[in-house]
Amino acid sequence: MKYLRFFLISVVSILSDSEVFACWVPWVDMPRWNNMYRVYDNQPEPTLDIEGHYPGAGRNCEEWQELTSKAIPLEDIYQVVYQMTLEEFEAVYENRNAAYKNKFTEWITKKDTSILDFLLLAKNNEYIRLKRNSRWYYPSMNMGTGMTLEEVAEKALANKDNRLRDRYLLQGVRALFSLSKYNECIELWETEISSLPDDNLMRQLVQPYIAGAEFHANRADKAVEYFAQIGDVQSMLFCMNRAGEEISTVDALELVCEHAPNSNFIEKALQSYVRKFESSWEFWREDEFVKTPAYEKLYALSIEMARGGNSNNPAMWYYTAAFLADLDGNAAKASYLLGQAESSKSTPYIDESIKVFRIYLDAKLLPYNSSYEDRLFAQLKWLDIKIQDNIDDHVRAETARGYIGDNYYWNGAMRRIVLSEVCPRMIKAGKKVRALQLANMADNRLFSLVNEWNLYDWVDDEYKVVKTYTMNGYRYSDRFNRLDYSNHFFEMIDSIGVDNAIQYVQRANRPQSDFDRFLNSRGYTGSDYLNDIAGTQCLRNMRYKEALEYLGKVSEAYKTHHNVYMEYDPFSADRKAIEQESDFRYGFAREMYSLEQSFNIVAEPNRKAQLMVKYALGIRNSFDLCWGLTQYYWGTTYWRQVCEKRDWESDDITKAALERAKELINLACDMVTDDEAGANIQYMLCHFETVARNYPNTEKGRLVRGKCDNLCDHHAESCRWHSLFK
């Protein structure tokens, strides 16, 4: 079943992947797809925007600062060490007497040229190694450098300057490794590098090469040991697999925890691994979560690390255990473990993850009373600040193209908590308006923050942005609205019942509390949009007077932007094309309300019957040929939770409406006293056979008998809408 579901998602995704089709929709992830487990901080060090791009870059720059001068800014060092190309550096090398703005350059060209020499060698080394890694490389290719790798290795190892010795050793190992001289790398490690202090950065940077060299020298066990010492789980798995030995990620993590309990690699491996559990269950929620041996082992490891005293971050391990417990369906246990995490030694990053998970567990566990609402309000305020503070250009760009998914942790976490946990429980607790407000915020917060909508199209074989709107500009443009009728909020308001929808619209207009105002301002509460929904639902529920009230408030500008339209006459029994109009819903509501009033007033039975028939046709058509009067479903494409389960053709509302239409027709037929009027009614209903048989001498009877071959119910039994009232 889950594969079928996946297939359907894929098909829908593929089919809906182009702006050129009317049914294209933005991609708004199912909230439960958003990963919430978060322990790995891949953001650069806030103090220096370099860590993360190059391992150890921040520390390395600081060490260069120690070797030179505290007055040199780290950014200057970073610029020279990491960003300057070989060519640029050679220019500096050749023009050392020139004056440089960069203080590090100035220092190494004037005061410490041994560093200048070292960096030239290092840059040559990296340049050649990079070029050799290119698929285009061929031995004997001109490297464009003044030296070969062999010369780099030789020079590096020959340098005995104690200050720079460890740095030269790193360059030597790198060059030797690239030359596949693995045993020489290992020898250097054993004779000199391994005796450097454990916290020596160069030693740490050399170690992965030594692990790799051991692997190439067919000593996988040794390689794994070295990788474990630096916490590189992925390399451990790679080595063991290549050596023909099976080792699981959890086994590898256990080894790392034993050798390097505070390795930076642990967070990355842990996050990647736990997220696999998370998505494998959450994605297919109907499936039971299966506790595998790996799950059990990881849970045990988490508890052991949390309590064992070797980790500098026990909170992260308690948090992990709590997360695993929740995946297993034990939210109470998860809450207890999270409490342990909250009171354990932590980092600001993990503290944030714990706080998010607490919001999630509260949503699952606390009673939905006013006290919880107050708590939720505070929690959402905090989450909202995070959403605002952490948004970046990538998220802005993705949002502007209509994608909201797991690309942004903070918004994803908010959506998952609100849509997957809070809203269903709010609805269950009878707080449907609150649920709608929350869903609206969940769906629209990011769009309102970004306030940009990019329209893509193919131009010269390239799919690119052809127009950029503000959100309001898009919503009032002449494009079909592909956003507001394809999200969870819309799905909810369209299925929660007309009274609740109306209450919501009223609350959007007249907020009663700070929480109302908070949620309204973070959702999309455009009055045209909401009045249109309320009015359409009134039409669906045959509440035409109210429909008039709401649809009457929808501005002309918005009506041109409907994502549905009406092609046929709503009062014709036959499929009769009409000119499309933008205010077709309002016009229909007005006519229906007028008919309703008229046939209640008119006493003459034949006239009354005719009005009733027209009214009945209006009801029927508004659920059939002119479905756009009562719904959005076929005019937009959304595929979510509720909608897919709705039987639009025979749900209670449709059944009641069709029943009402049938009843009115029967009443009208019983009421009629005049043959001409009877024939007219049957003719309106396209019951031509009945006209010919029962009213042969009326005007319509003669017409039918004269043109019977052209009239469809003589030969088209399958005309569904004709037979509905027979």
Partner: protein, 320 residues
């Protein structure tokens, strides 16, 4: 002195008479007419028979495929990258007195992907071809060749590529040649010093009705509507054969000429142009486009294939 002048005049006269083909195809800037052969494998390995073949037929130039340029998915960033593939390995040394013309085949996907980045890849292609030639001791290189089935939609990109390659080679005193397929004759040639008209694979391989997809004069005639071509041309003739297997008239695969393994509803179309057929095409092409600028070329050096032709037939094909 008088005697010396006579000799000089005689030499000049002889060179005018022997010339570089007829007027229509006489603009080659390196006029040494030579017999040539393509080598189109992924391992360069010549056995004694092949070496002997080269000697017997005075073949002094090998157009040697060095690598193909193709696209491959780049899993790191979800795009595709243009990379050299199927790089030829050198298991044999290059015979003495043989000039090597390094050739690279550029797939149409790679060409499309290169759009806008032609200079970057032109330089990589030249650098790699020359590095391979140098590393494998291919001797002095005076020409490199690009092979690509470009069409009118990719022509501009290919032109830019050729232009950059030609400029780069020109500064090194080398020439650029290109392969020319029959359908490309209708287009203005890309900037190159000369071309090699591929007179093989002229028919529709996968069509069960095709008589001989390797070479058939009926497939060549429609393209011989013009006199001459804007750059000097040499001609490459096929001296190979294969079988084309069909099932229910649908193409299945290319098989060896010796393969007779068929099941129900299958048949194999055996194709190997006879020398007479090749010579007929040679005559037609000579009439319409002129004699080869630098000489005729065999496609390709493979003893197992060449043994199907007599030395006399080969010499007739190569004869200028």
């Amino acid at each position: 002195m008088e005697h010396l002048l006579k000799v000089i005049f005689l030499l000049i006269g002889a060179s005018v008479f022997m010339g570089c083909g007829d007027e229509r195809n006489a603009t080659a800037n390196r006029c040494a007419k030579r017999n040539s052969v393509y080598y189109w494998e992924t391992v360069f390995e010549l056995d004694s028979t092949e070496r002997s073949f080269l000697q017997r037929h005075s073949i002094s130039r090998i157009y040697l495929r060095m690598f193909d340029v193709a696209t491959e998915p780049d899993f790191l960033n979800g795009t595709s990258q243009i990379v050299p593939i199927a790089t030829t390995k050198f298991a044999s040394s290059i015979p003495d007195n043989i000039e090597i013309v390094p050739v690279t085949y550029i797939t149409i996907d790679a060409l499309r992907a290169m759009a806008g980045k032609e200079p970057e890849f032109a330089s990589l292609i030249v650098e790699r071809l020359l590095a391979m030639a140098s590393y494998n001791k291919c001797g002095k290189i005076s020409e490199i060749q690009l092979d690509c089935d470009w069409t009118s939609t990719t022509k501009n990109s290919y032109n830019r590529l050729c232009e950059t390659v030609k400029d780069a080679l020109s500064s090194k005193g080398m020439d650029l040649s290109i392969t020319v397929r029959l359908h490309q004759l209708r287009e203005t040639p890309p900037p190159a010093d000369r071309g090699v008209l591929m007179l093989y694979n002229t028919g529709a391989l996968k069509n069960a009705e095709t008589y001989n997809s390797i070479l058939h004069i009926d497939d060549v005639v429609p393209y011989m509507k013009q006199d001459g071509y804007a750059i000097p041309l040499d001609y490459a003739f096929p001296v190979f054969g294969w079988g084309v297997k069909f099932k229910n008239n649908k193409f299945v695969s290319i098989v060896s000429y010796d393969n007779h393994d068929i099941s129900d509803n299958e048949f194999i179309r055996y194709e190997r142009p006879a020398a007479s057929e090749i010579l007929e095409v040679k005559k037609l092409v000579g009439q319409k486009l002129g004699k080869p600028a630098n000489g005729n070329i065999l496609y390709h050096l493979d003893e197992a294939q060449l043994e199907n032709y007599t030395d006399y037939e080969i010499s007739q094909i190569l004869f200028n």
